[in-house]
């Protein structure tokens, strides 16, 4: 009985994090105010990234069919990395791209759109077409649930396309990599699997546009407003306090 009770306690404590996971999007203000260690964040999830839009995409299943996902687009104003946050099979992933990688995604999508409209996409040779438009670096975070993402990896991703049941999809294929979480014992090798994100033309258009510098600048500016606002207040008070009495008389 005690054993059962203890097990239930543990399950409850773990699942509570998932149950209370944030439903509302994280704003620039949330990110600015977050110190990464408040108790609230345990229940609501990390406030490291601004969640600025949603995008629909597909990921593969164990049986190699495609499953539709509602993914969130995220941006870290502190290091200017942007990307997508989604489930893949049973794990939750954040994939983050730097500016160079985002430029590759945009150029790749433009080329894909052109090839699509010209109907010049290659149906066979998916391993070749998966990396048709180039490769770049990606940073990935992952875990079983959104509030427990302790694992991370530096990998590369390929930009290209694949056909599924005669329908072409624009794809970002993030290659398998060693999990760099270093606290486990050395024999316990953790691995991030290959994850391929499938976009229809319309979904790819939205994703590509949202990854543009112009869109991300809006959220960067919003974040910096909070930073500057605090700095201005500090400067004003410093100036006021340290002013000489003579200067004050002139008011």
């Amino acid at each position: 009985m005690k054993k059962l009770l203890c097990t239930v306690c543990m399950i409850c404590s773990l699942s509570s994090a998932a149950l209370f996971a944030a439903k509302e999007k994280v704003t620039a203000k949330d990110v600015y105010e977050s110190d990464g260690s408040s108790l609230k964040e345990f229940f609501t999830g990390s406030k490291k990234y601004i969640e600025f839009d949603d995008v629909k995409l597909r990921t593969s299943t164990v049986l190699d069919s495609l499953k539709a996902r509602e993914a969130t687009l995220i941006y870290n104003p502190r290091n200017k990395a942007a990307g997508v946050s989604t489930y893949f099979e049973t794990m939750f992933y954040n994939f983050l791209f730097d500016e160079e990688a985002r430029n590759l995604i945009q150029k790749g999508f433009e080329q894909y759109k052109k090839d699509f409209e010209e109907k010049s996409l290659i149906r066979k040779a998916s391993s070749k077409t998966t990396r048709m438009y180039g490769s770049a670096k990606v940073y990935a975070e992952f875990g079983t649930i959104k509030t427990m993402m302790s694992h991370y990896a530096n990998s590369v991703f390929n930009v290209g396309y694949r056909f599924y049941k005669n329908t072409p999809f624009f794809v970002l294929s993030i290659e398998s990599a060693k999990d760099e979480w270093s606290d486990a014992e050395e024999e316990t090798r953790w691995v991030m699997p290959t994850v391929t994100l499938y976009f229809t033309l319309a979904q790819g258009e939205l994703f590509s546009t949202d990854m543009s510098t112009d869109v991300l600048k809006i959220y960067q500016d919003e974040f910096e407003q909070f930073v500057n606002s605090d700095l201005d207040e500090e400067k004003n008070e410093n100036k006021k306090y340290n002013k000489k009495d003579d200067d004050l008389d002139t008011y």
Partner: protein, 409 residues
């Protein structure tokens, strides 16, 4: 048992309420050998894939990791199942410690902590996907480029400027003068990442005092240096050397120079190079190790063993990615007789005094939080499982069919 489970539950619950970034993770692996020809008969076994030559006596590993982090403090805890008389038991793993960050550039850990900054392994093939036969595990690939010191009692990491770290960790030695803790059972290391080029690091590892041929106490240690080249796209190249500080001391014939506190065997002057090259859909792996100094089986007129021979070990592997889901894994290993002999605890050991070789071909199914492997493995000269006796070593070739599940959360 109930108390232990209760304790785990209590930790999870209290952690959830006391810490901000609390994570519970799990890593599990069981390698089943339904068919294993040991040169004598076909047998079965099950174990972690690193269980050694007699896998039938253990049944894999299931592990839970608890971590709690704030910006300035945190903890790590690992609990895992292990075999014991009459069933399984719960044990504590390596990382069980608390830490603080008194400054942004300093982390102080106390408890049971692995001092492992810059750790350098070269692992592939059967190390991860099959049964780790001799010549694919331990001193053949783990720590081979740059060693860790496992289960230290203190560890201090400094990051004074970007890309530079300095680490000092060691073990408390009970009932001995403090210098044993801070010198003989400690390591000091430093590493620097050259942006866009690579990663260089060096360290000194203290070893227990030994005696020279006159019977005087002598201090010994091991100096290591390593470099990872990262500037060539798709290529990872890593090379390292390990140099004992006192060769003369080795001449006592007692095999005192070891870093068993780091979980490794006896280490002579050794150089290793590992490489991985990604050429989609292939990934090529290579490892070459040379032991430049070994101890001979005979002694001279003063009773001193001579240094002679060079031992070699190495491996080649190719992964072929069929698609996102399936990968074919291949791996071939070889270790010379001299190389194997240096790993034994004494020269008189009869075990593994011949060259060994092993090969593996398998199919890996890659799931989001698991890998399912089925393969076929050959091992020569007693390198495979179930070859614990010298008699078994008479058989030149053994084979097995490892079926392995690794999953994590």
């Amino acid at each position: 048992m109930k108390k232990i489970i209760g304790l785990i539950a209590a930790v999870a619950l209290s952690a959830a309420s006391a810490f901000a970034q609390v994570n519970v993770s799990s890593w599990n692996r069981v390698c089943f050998l339904p068919l294993n020809w040991n040169g004598n008969q076909i047998v079965s076994g099950e174990a972690e894939n690193w269980a050694g030559t007699n896998p039938g006596v253990v049944a894999g590993t299931t592990r839970l990791f608890f971590t709690g982090d704030t910006k300035n403090a945190g903890f790590r805890m690992e609990v895992y199942t292990t075999s014991s008389a009459g069933g399984s038991a719960i044990a504590l793993g390596d990382p069980n410690y608390v830490y603080v960050k008194p400054f942004d550039w300093m982390k102080v850990s106390l408890g049971q902590v692995n001092a492992n900054m810059g750790l350098g392994h070269v692992t592939f093939g059967m190390f991860d996907h099959g049964y780790r036969v001799s010549s694919s595990t331990g001193d053949y690939c783990e720590n081979i480029i740059f060693s860790e010191m496992a289960r230290c009692n203190f560890d201090v990491v400094l990051t004074p400027i970007p890309n530079l770290w300095i680490e000092y960790g060691g073990k408390v030695v009970a009932n001995k003068e403090a210098y044993h803790t801070f010198l003989n059972y400690a390591k000091l290391s430093a590493g620097y990442t050259i942006p866009g080029v690579g990663f260089a690091r060096a360290q000194y590892i203290g070893l227990p005092d030994t005696t020279d041929k006159k019977g005087d106490t002598v201090k010994v240690g091991l100096i290591e240096a390593a470099f990872d080249l990262t500037c060539v796209p798709n290529l990872w190249l890593s090379a390292g050397v390990k140099v004992p500080t006192n060769f003369e001391t080795l001449n006592d014939g007692n095999w005192k120079l070891s870093i068993t506190q780091a979980g490794a065997g006896h280490i002579p002057l050794r150089a290793a190079i590992g490489a991985q090259y990604n050429l989609n859909p292939f990934v090529f792996h290579a490892l070459a190790i040379a032991s430049f100094m070994n101890i001979s089986d005979s002694t001279d007129s003063d009773g001193i063993r001579e240094f002679k021979d060079v031992g070699f070990a190495g491996g080649l592997g190719v992964d072929f990615k069929i698609n996102d889901r399936y990968t074919i894994i291949t791996d071939f290993r070889y270790a010379s007789a001299v190389y194997n002999r240096i790993l034994q605890s004494s020269v008189s050991d009869a075990v593994t005094t011949r060259g060994t070789a092993a090969g593996y071909v398998g199919l890996a199914q890659n799931l989001s939080n698991a890998i399912f492997d089925v393969g076929f493995q050959l091992a020569g000269n007693g390198a495979g499982p179930f070859t614990t006796t010298v008699e078994d070593k008479k058989f030149d070739l053994t084979w097995s069919v490892p079926v392995q599940i690794t999953c994590w959360f």
